[in-house]
Amino acid sequence: MKKIIKYVIIDILRNKIMLAYTLFLLLISLSVFNLEDNSAKGLLSLLNIILIIVPLVSIMFSAIYVYNSAEFLELLVSQPLKRKTIWLSVFSGLASSLAIAFFVGAGIPILLYEATATGFMMLGTGLLLSVIFVAIAMLAAVITRDKAKGIGVAILLWLYFSLLFDGLVLFVLFQFADYPMEKIMVGVSTLNPIDLSRILILLKMDVSALMGYTGAIFKNFFGTQTGVLLSFLVLTLWIVIPTWLSLRKFNRKDL
């Protein structure tokens, strides 16, 4: 398995889009930290970029890569290799490449300018988000055979997680405005890795006091050690479940 991962990473790291993505993140994070007068504010500006750009690039790049590798996958399948090995290798290759790109582009500036609990939380969730959206992209790509359709699905999924889901939440909140929704909201937030990451990061920042305004429920849950551990567990599930589903599908897929 290691053998294939190695070559997938070599291939992706040479990719121009990947290079551009890394540079873009680097540029943004450096300018954000240098332009803002205090770095806590820089983090806040970086927050939105990470929550929007990272999932978008991860999901699009992975989906396109999987489609473009269709023939290569066929070749690999014709070799004495387990399909599981092939699929997980491609996943690991994509995940580690995107994670490396994020780490170089955003992680290093964060460590340089803001090596605090907030910074580490941002780094951790950013890395996890990169991997989560690789997993989601691969699920979308294995289900949809047609490339154009598959990329469309990937864009829709990104739109759903970064925008539509929140719109739905807002709609539900207003529909059930007369009911106590705080506790349910904690559960709902686990249904979207982007929301979950954002809440985790915000609670490490001093703007967390604003979140306490709604009753201390968010802070009492996500602010504690158990809460953070549970959230990371949920984020890990967001990697494991799509990967597992896509693997099942790939095992039975006709190439």
Binding site: N48, L51, D166, L170, E182, D195, V207, M211, T214, K219
Partner: protein, 411 residues
């Protein structure tokens, strides 16, 4: 300084003739202050040497000058009220008052004034007292340059730093108060002034006003208290040049105004508070030249407020400028500087040509539906705010500053 005051006192009473000075101390004839007070007459000075004194409850029932040299320590042994003042015109100067009794029935204090007037309490250090300095029906008293420290952990078992109840014409000047329940507490206190005090790290409020009219507090610093400063059920209160800082917690604010009328809030600084000012049922309040920076909400004006006039204030780096819970707005905003203003000034008169709406859509949503805080700083909500700016639907139509300034005022 001490010596100088003593000389002045001597000269004064030398002139009036019959006043004398009684020395108290280990090396003096009179060993306890209690003894000294017994033999003292009205107008005498009791001069106390440095040292530790176990006076139990020291009752001052004559008009005397009680002056400590190098802060003699009065230990209340966690049982007694250290000093009870039960005569007019008493001066208590330069003592260290420690370990007062703690009781849930009686309000033990380090120094307490009972129904008296013209008392002066100054230059004392109070440490580990239940209540610090307590005025009950005091009139025309001065509490000046005292340092009050306590280490209260729970609100129920804590007393207030400077506590005034049913008092009038009080002067609270240049005290430093920390670790109490409320730093300064006023209930039914009138015509008084609170000036140049520093109140920090108190469990509840830095300053707490209840039913106290015609008072002023000026140039005080309220920092890092549990919930900031609360001014409730009072009228004609003037708040000038104070600093409200770092009241940063789930339900904190710099200043809470509740059922307040006819107040003035000028030249204050609100920095790093969860909410700069929270107003409920406030009316006829003029706010001018205040600075709000780095607050969660700079201002929360509930719909129950009316005739609040905000002019020439600076709003800088606040997450939300103004929050409100209704659509009816009877308050006026004019000539303020808002750093989020993105309008233009074509005629170069330094006043923006289009109005600024300080209430964002998202802040309205949270006000109506607090769990929506889950979406704080999400793409969705910033998009909503942008759309709302173009087509206002949810935010109050007339809550706006028609003449926003282009540049911040030099405050």
């Amino acid at each position: 300084m001490k010596a100088f005051i003593t000389i002045i006192v001597f000269v004064l009473f030398a002139v009036t003739g019959n006043a004398k000075t009684i020395r108290v101390g280990k090396l003096q004839a009179i060993k306890t202050i209690q003894q000294a007070i017994q033999i003292a007459a009205k107008g005498d000075t009791v001069l106390v040497d440095a040292g530790l004194y176990h006076e139990k409850n020291l009752i001052i029932n004559k008009t005397i000058f009680l002056i400590g040299i190098n802060h003699p320590v009065l230990d209340g042994e966690n049982q007694y009220e250290n000093i009870s003042i039960k005569a007019d015109g008493v001066v208590v100067d330069g003592f260290k008052v420690v370990h007062s009794g703690v009781s849930s029935i009686e309000d033990f204090a380090g120094i307490k004034i009972y129904n008296r007037r013209d008392v002066i309490i100054k230059n004392n250090i109070l440490d580990d007292t239940f209540f610090g300095i307590y005025s009950q029906y005091g009139t025309n008293c001065t509490i000046e340059k005292n340092t009050l420290t306590a280490n209260s952990k729970e609100e129920q078992q804590a007393g207030n730093g400077i506590h005034c109840w049913k008092s009038d014409s009080m002067r609270i000047i240049a005290n430093t108060i920390s670790g109490h329940r409320d730093g300064i507490y006023f209930e039914f206190v009138t015509n008084s002034v609170i000036w140049r005090n520093t109140s920090f790290n108190n469990l509840r409020y830095g300053l707490h006003f209840m039913f106290s009219n015609n008072d002023a507090y000026i140039t005080n610093i309220f920092k890092n208290n549990g919930a900031g400063v609360a001014v409730m059920f009072s009228n004609h209160v003037k708040m000038f040049n104070n600093y409200f800082e770092e009241n940063w917690g789930d339900a904190s604010y710099g200043l809470l105004l509740k059922e307040i009328s006819d107040g003035y809030i000028n030249n204050n600084h609100f920095t790093k508070n969860t909410t700069g000012i929270h107003m409920e049922g406030a009316s006829r309040i003029a706010m001018e030249k205040n600075v709000f920076d780095n607050n969660g909400w700079a201002l929360k004006i509930q719909a129950s407020c009316m005739d609040i006039v905000l002019t020439k204030n600076n709003f800088i780096s606040n997450t939300f400028d103004v929050g409100t819970n209704g659509s009816l707005v009877l308050n006026t905003f004019n000539n303020n500087y808002w750093d989020k203003y993105d309008g233009y000034d074509l005629n170069k008169d330094k006043i923006g040509d289009v109005p600024y709406r300080p209430v964002s859509m998202y802040s309205m949503i949270i006000e109506q539906n607090p769990p929506a805080m889950m979406l704080f700083r999400s793409f969705m909500t910033s998009l909503l705010d942008k759309t709302e700016k173009i087509i206002p639907t949810l935010t109050p139509e007339n809550l706006k500053d028609d003449h926003p300034l282009m540049k911040p005022l030099p405050l």
